[in-house]
Each structure stands twice: as structure tokens, then as C-alpha cells.
């Protein structure tokens, strides 16, 4: 989907190499290396404190690594950019706890996420064009909230908020989506639907999914990376990974 830009150092969409970060002496990430290819969907699993969320923070510019390389699209050094710039490059992020704008309507939530110029003046004199309105309607349809568009996001249920947030990611139309525990706190039915939704998205986006729920990962059926104590423990299809002795040891605490 994305041809490497001229002068690219790598053909990968996302390229992490030897990344480390520590908080007050605690090494949250140590020598993490990871590559995501364009169009790929990757699941990342690992026990609590494995560094999953910190890794996302590093990719999205919230946390600066102490050392290591983080490249996007082959040539852009993400460690030098702030969150907004990274978002505008085409990296979207969904939080562990669903984070939507409670005091905005569902439609406005999507509108705010819709890919567009983000400058102060442009937003001040913004007028929604019909094409954009169509896209909003389309996304509302995908996330099954079209009939609730005028309601405040704060009044949604937990699962609906998760979908709304995914819808916002869609509206952003990023090249890479980072999705943190999309199925947390969902009913089984909702979980299955979410998996379908994600697979649909993965058709034309690269996606990284962080998840605990093995059933959910199995449903996605993608390559899995296991993190442990801030570095990669194992990588491969789920069956292969779950057979790995080290992984079993870490998960079961033996």
C-alpha cells in the first residue's frame, strides 16, 4: 500500500530497533526491536508490566526513549516529533480505557477525528462539506451508532464507547492503528463483533493490537509478538508462540 519513500532506510512501515526507556531507574523497555510491514496486522501480548503500553507511548510520541531508533514509513524519526505531528503522519491510537469526548455528540466525536487540516484558523472557520458528511455517515454505519448520532458520547455504554473510539480511528484514516485492549470489559458477543470490525479495518490499514484475551487473538488469526520485561520474548503465529516453553513459563509464572 505504501511504497517506501525515496531515501528510506527500511521498507517497513514501523521500525523499532534497540529501544530502551527507564522511569526512575526502572527499565520499562529494554532493547526492544520490532518491525511492522505495510498492511500487516500484528497482535502483541504479554503479562502486566511487560511494557506494552509504554511501547505505544513511545511510538505515539508521548514518551521519549532513552536510546534506540523508531522509524515510520522508512524515513521519519518518530523520536523527534510530538504527539500531534505523529498523529498527522498517520498513526492513530486507541486507549486501553475508552477515551471519547463525553460532552460532544457522537457525530461531533467523529467529526473531530475526521481527516482534515488541523490548524487553528481552519477549524475556526470550518464548514463540513457534503463529501465529509457522507464519510461521517458511513463510519457511523460501520460502528452501528448511526441512530444515536445526536446523543452525547458520555451516555454510551462501555462497549459502544469502544466502538466509537474505533470509529474515530477510522475517521482519522491513519496508515497505522495502535489498538490497546479493544475487547476489555466487553461481553462475548461484543468481543466477536469487535474482532470482525478490526479485521475489516485491517484490510486497508496496518494495525497493532495489544490484548490479553487469547480467544480474541485467536479470532483475529494474525502474527503474534510476546513482550516480556520490556523486550521481545517470542514472535510468530499464535499456535507456535503458545507452544514456546519460555512463553508458557512467563505466563504461568513458573
Amino acid at each position: 500500500m505504501n511504497a517506501p519513500t525515496p531515501g528510506a532506510l527500511t521498507s517497513s512501515l514501523l521500525y523499532l530497533d534497540g529501544v530502551s526507556v527507564s522511569f526512575d531507574g526502572f527499565k520499562a523497555i529494554r532493547g526492544l526491536s520490532l518491525t511492522i510491514e505495510p498492511g500487516e496486522m500484528r497482535a502483541i501480548i504479554g503479562p502486566n508490566g511487560a511494557g506494552k503500553t509504554t511501547m505505544m507511548d513511545i511510538i505515539t510520541g508521548k514518551t521519549r526513549p532513552d536510546e534506540g531508533t523508531v522509524m515510520f514509513g522508512g524515513s521519519v524519526d518518530l523520536t523527534r516529533l510530538d504527539e500531534a505531528a505523529i498523529a498527522n503522519l498517520g498513526i492513530g491510537r486507541k486507549f486501553q480505557k475508552p477515551t471519547v469526548f463525553d460532552f460532544h455528540t457522537i457525530e461531533d466525536n467523529i467529526l473531530l477525528a475526521l481527516k482534515s487540516k488541523r490548524s487553528v484558523l481552519k477549524t475556526l472557520f470550518w464548514q463540513t462539506e457534503s463529501q465529509q458528511q457522507k464519510r461521517i455517515d458511513e463510519i457511523l454505519g460501520i460502528i452501528k451508532l448511526a441512530d444515536k448520532r445526536e446523543r452525547l458520547a458520555g451516555s454510551l455504554s462501555h462497549g459502544q464507547k469502544q466502538w466509537l473510539e474505533i470509529g474515530m480511528l477510522l475517521a482519522q484514516d491513519p496508515k497505522l492503528l495502535l489498538v490497546d485492549e479493544p475487547a476489555a470489559g466487553m461481553t462475548d458477543g461484543e468481543t466477536a463483533q469487535t474482532a470482525v470490525l478490526l479485521k475489516e479495518i485491517a484490510r486497508d490499514h496496518s494495525v497493532i493490537v495489544v490484548e490479553h484475551d487469547m480467544g480474541f487473538i485467536r479470532e483475529l488469526g494474525v502474527k503474534v509478538t510476546v513482550l516480556h520485561e520490556g523486550s521481545v520474548l517470542a514472535e510468530g503465529p499464535l499456535d507456535q508462540v503458545s507452544a514456546n516453553e519460555r512463553v508458557v513459563e512467563v505466563y504461568l509464572g513458573r
Binding site: 505515539t60 508521548k62 498523529a87 471519547v100 469526548f101 477525528a113 477549524t123 475556526l124 470550518w126 451516555s155
Partner: protein, 379 residues
Amino acid sequence: MITRFLLSNMDRRGFVFLALIAAIGLLVPLANLLLPAGSPFHVSTATMSLWGKYLCYALLAISLDLVWGYCGILSLGHGAFFALGGYAMGMYLMRQIGSRGVYGNPVLPDFMVFLNWGELPWYWYGFSSFPFAMLMVLVVPGLLAFVFGWFAFRSRVTGVYLSIITQALTYALLLAFFRNDMGFGGNNGLTDFKDILGFNVQAQGTRAALFAMTCVMLISGFLIARGIVSSKLGKVVIAIRDAESRTRFLGYRVDRFKLFVFTVSACMAGVAGALYVPQVGIINPSEFAPANSIETVIWVAVGGRGSLVGAALGAVVVNWAKTVFTSGFMAPYWLFALGALFVFVTLFMPKGILGTAQGWWESRKRPAPVPAPEPAPAE
């Protein structure tokens, strides 16, 4: 485009408010000037100038509500912008005195004469011109807000920390303006004004005109603030208030949006200060006192945070109550009443007068309310 920007999404409450202010702005000066003092509809000059003061405060409250109610920036230093606008106007009025000061010095204001200043300090140049002074009313507070906000928002100082350093800002300015060496009249400030644009500031006609001008500015301030909050930028700003990092991950440069709103708000506060000075007749450093800024926050809280009409209403109600309670037998106890009001409002009316009234009204109209979201965290 501008009219669309200003008037789009206007709700009924907004129209009522605008109509009310416009009517006041038109009728009060007329009732003051044209009706004889005996008429039951006559408005005395005292009442008019009192309400002129309230309306200046209302504009200040709207400007604060813009940053606090909509953007979540609790500024405890908005009085500083108000006072700076006031000083810019005060400097113009001082220069208009000319040689009618008590010492008859054609250039220097009186306080400089008796403190033996040799010549006018450079920063007083230009203030004899009305357009320049009016420009400064916007530029000085705006520039201060811009520079302050540029640093503060870029380094992501938020919440309580931001509130405390805005307080430090206004406190530092308070101390600075108290110094007589600064050339702003020290503790006494600027006073004894004579003319504005050639009209006697104390004349009834001038007062009526100033009152009408205050209403015009209040309407303009309201329309601009309204325009901002109902535009997409307004939605971004509210998004920043409710989930700052989410907004950032959507690709919005949060610092720039905050800076924009903060600067616009400071300019608005400056205008309020500029209108306040000729009506009150004095500007002095006590306007910078942190307590004044906190009080402004309380007007907004009382009226209803996140509602422009509410903020204006709060300013008028609290100040009116202050006027009433500081006279007569209540005089020694009015601080009890004021203090109790603040405690009461924060405890029992977190949405302010307007929000509470609206909630009550809606619950009457619709017995089964939609589940309202939890009140937003203030940070």
C-alpha cells in the same frame, strides 16, 4: 462568512440574552437622558453607572468562561488582563488632562510632577492618541497572554500548576505596579480624569454613551465567544477540556488551540477593563490583586461554568448582591453571606444558577431524562 460565524448555531437563550442587552443598551441611556428625574421610568445616572460597572464585569466573566468553562484552563490571573486594559485606557485619559492637572504641566501627569520626574517615560508615548490607546487595550493584554501562554502551554503546564502560576503572574504585576518607580502612579494609580474624545467623562451624556458602548462591547464579546465555541474550533477546545491527550492523539496541536483561546480571552478582558476605567473613574494596582481574579472565577461558577450567558449572569448577580449587602445593617456581615454563597454554589449547584435552573426546567418538561454524563473533571 463572518455573520455566519457569529450567528450560526445561536440558541434561544443566546437570542434572549442579546435582545436583553441590546434593549438595556438602548433604553437605559434614553431613560436617563430624556425622561425627567420625576418620571417612574427615569434611570438615575448613579444606577446607570453602577450597571455599567456590572456589565464590564459581565464581559470579564465571559472572557474567563471562554478559557475556563470551555477550555478547562482555570486562570487565577484574569484580573491582570482586565487591569492592563484598564491601565491602557487610563493612560489615554491621563494624557487627555493636558495642562488641566493641578500643577498645570502640559505633558506630565500630576503624580510625575510631584515625584520630580523630568520627562515622560517612553512607554507613555503615543497614549495621547485614542486609536493607539485602543490598540494597546487589545495588544498589551493579548501580548502578555500570548507570551505567557506560549511558554506555559508548550511545556504542558496544566491544572493546578497553571492556576498557581497565573496567580503568580498577577501577583508579580501587582507588586510591580505598586512601585512608584514604574511610572504608573503607584498605589494611587491613575485618576482625576477629565475628557474622553473631547467629552467630559462625568457629563451625563458621556456616561450614557459609555453605558451604551459597554452594551455594544458586551454583545460583540458574547457574539465572538459564541462564534468561537460553536465553531469546530470550539468543539476542539471542549475536547481538549475533557480529554486533552485524546485530542492530541487525534493530531490537534493542543498548545496552539489553548494559546488562541487564551489570547482572545485576554484581549476581551482588556476591553472590559478599558470600559470599566472611565465609568469608575480610577484604575490602580488593587485590580491586580489575586483575590479579585479569584472572585471573577466565582462569578462564573455561580452563574454556570461552560455557559456564556451564565457567566454574565453570575457576574451581575454576585456584584449586585455585593452592592446590596455592603449597605445598611448587613454591612458588617456581608462577607459571611458572600463566603456562604461560594460554599453553597460549589456544593449544591455545581452547574451554577443557569445550569441548575435549566436542569430543573428540563426535568419538568421531560420526566424521563436521558442519562447525563458525569460532570467533567475540572482538570
